[in-house]
């Protein structure tokens, strides 16, 4: 219990600092933010109205607390270009990103788990060398290039799968899944490489420990030893990497969504950057950071489930 309380308390200063950094974003714009957003041709009335809307006519500390008060009540401001609440824009875009994140993660796991286990169990054999080199290669492939390659192969040359045309799962599950295969493949391959490397090195740390030798000496076969004893003890770094991966994907599928025309959260940020809709950029960035903080918190709490020594304050 103390572990959970302590971890929750540690999150508070991070959240405060994240809010200050996000708030500062608009104030980092060189010159007058309202002038930059509206351009030089804006009328004095429009200029003044935007300054008032953004609260730029108040002292900076007052601006922060007023903004923070609104954020806490779920108000992230009004989009400058679309004139709708930013929170609505985000909540419209998040489901596609969440679906893409889950699909990518599942795809990464399906490849990384067997490859990582095989590489560790068959250490220094061709299986290990091949999968390790493939993983290093996978980590080096730019996502957006891989996305183009899969589009050329699966869509342009063979017409097997669509490269765009996202529809929500609730409207047409089949079309939705078909549209999600290529984006998940293009993003998941790289993520599987990262996971596989982490799993392999983590398994190698555990595989030579005394309890594993004891299990083998007692006659347990290799599969049962690895799956029943080694894997669980090697999971903490893998869970950490998975957590960071999910957090990064939730806020960072910017390019995949752009290439496959998926109306997701990442694409919203890119569109807002180009439209100079700083209020939306600010709100979206705050949400992406909050997602990372929450996922990291959940991962830390998951440690306690995987390794009870942590909950008892005896573990790492």
């Amino acid at each position: 219990m103390m572990f959970i309380v302590k971890r929750l308390l540690l999150t508070i200063p991070i959240l405060i600092l994240v809010s200050i950094m996000t708030f500062s974003l608009i104030h980092m714009i060189p010159g007058d933010p309202a002038r930059v957003i509206l351009g030089q041709e804006a009328t004095p009335e429009a200029y003044q109205a935007l300054r008032t809307e953004l609260g730029l006519d108040k002292p900076i500390v007052e601006q922060y607390f007023s903004w923070m008060g609104k954020v806490l009540s779920g108000d992230l401001g009004m989009s400058i270009t679309d004139h709708v609440p930013v929170i609505d824009l985000i909540s419209q875009r998040l489901p596609a990103t969440i679906e893409l994140t889950i699909g990518t993660f599942v795809f990464a796991l399906v490849i990384a788990l067997p490859a990582g286990i095989l590489a560790a169990v068959r250490r220094n054999t061709w299986v290990d060398y091949t999968s390790s080199f493939a993983a290093l290669g996978g980590m080096s492939i730019p996502n957006f290039w891989l996305a183009m390659m899969v589009i050329i192969y699966f869509t342009v040359e063979n017409n097997w799968l669509p490269s765009s045309g996202y529809v929500p799962f609730s409207e047409d599950p089949k079309a939705n899944l078909m549209a999600m295969i290529l984006p998940c493949l293009a993003t998941g391959l790289r993520e599987s490489a990262v996971l596989m490397r982490m799993l392999r090195s983590s398994l190698l740390e555990v595989i030579n420990m005394d309890f594993v030798r004891t299990a083998k000496a007692k006659g347990l076969n290799e599969v049962k030893t690895v799956l029943g004893h080694v894997l669980r003890n090697a999971m903490i770094p893998v869970v950490t990497t998975s957590g960071l991966m999910i957090a990064g994907l939730l806020g960072g599928l910017v390019i995949t969504e752009s290439i496959f025309s998926i109306p997701g959260f990442g694409r919203l940020i890119v569109e807002s950057v180009f439209k100079r809709d700083y209020v939306t950029v600010q709100g979206a960035i705050l949400v992406s950071a909050l997602l990372v903080v929450v996922v990291n918190l959940l991962v830390d709490l998951l440690y306690a489930v995987i390794d009870p020594r942590i909950k008892a304050g005896k573990g790492a």
């Binding site: 980092m28 730019p142 183009m148 806020g251 960035i285």
Partner: protein, 276 residues
Amino acid sequence: MKSVLKFFRTGLGLIGAIIILALVLTAALAPVIAPYDPNAQNYEKILQEPNAEHYFGTDDLGRDIFSRVVYGAQVSIKAAIISVGIAMLIGIPIGLFTGYYRGFWDEWVVMRVIDALQAFPFLILALAISAVLGSGFGNAMLAIGIGFAPAFVRITRGQVLTLRNMEYVHAAKSVGVKDMRIIFGHILPNAMGPIIIQSTLAMATGILAEASLSYLGLGVQPPTPSWGSMLNQAQTLMSVAPYATYYPGLAIFVVVLGFNLLGDGLQQFLDPKTRK
């Protein structure tokens, strides 16, 4: 010299080093290697498939893709050096001082700011900074450098926390050596191993990040050839000229692989657990 030879014997490091050397030579000798001006448009030769005259073909403006890929190496190498350089300039001193002096500033200010900065997904942070400062190569480098800095703070600080308790540091203190001299003369040289590994791996990510920002239109601006922006332009040609997407992406892949191999090789060489 012996240790350099030993490092190259790891194989991985050698392959990585050869790739990076090839990148540096390509960037330096681009005017000699490239058969055409990378920005010269030739409307009589648009969208030509790879042939003896244009090894990688031409794009929709008739520009020679091979020449553009060769010149693109200059952007990538600059991106790797400048972005990681900025991150090191910010991260290493902060890591050194906070790790050495510790206390309130270390625990409650610097490390919590680092935690908060790391809460922002890397590309989103780079996008946000580029959005505020404006697009362009310089701002993209600044954005990527700021994004990388927290990792350097953590690595340096972690090293200093161990090294500050070493006997040679206590000995230096006891004979009255000044803190600055201990930090920069004794601790920093001994902390460099993991920092070098981190910088090599960060260069790989830096090249990817520059390419990503340029792909999104926030990095290098046309007509300067950058592998990321070339992919952006080639994306619209995927159905008529797929070859236009092959080579810039392949170049990014090979170079990033080179830095990753070098980083892995260094890690194996410097880590006592994996060093044979």
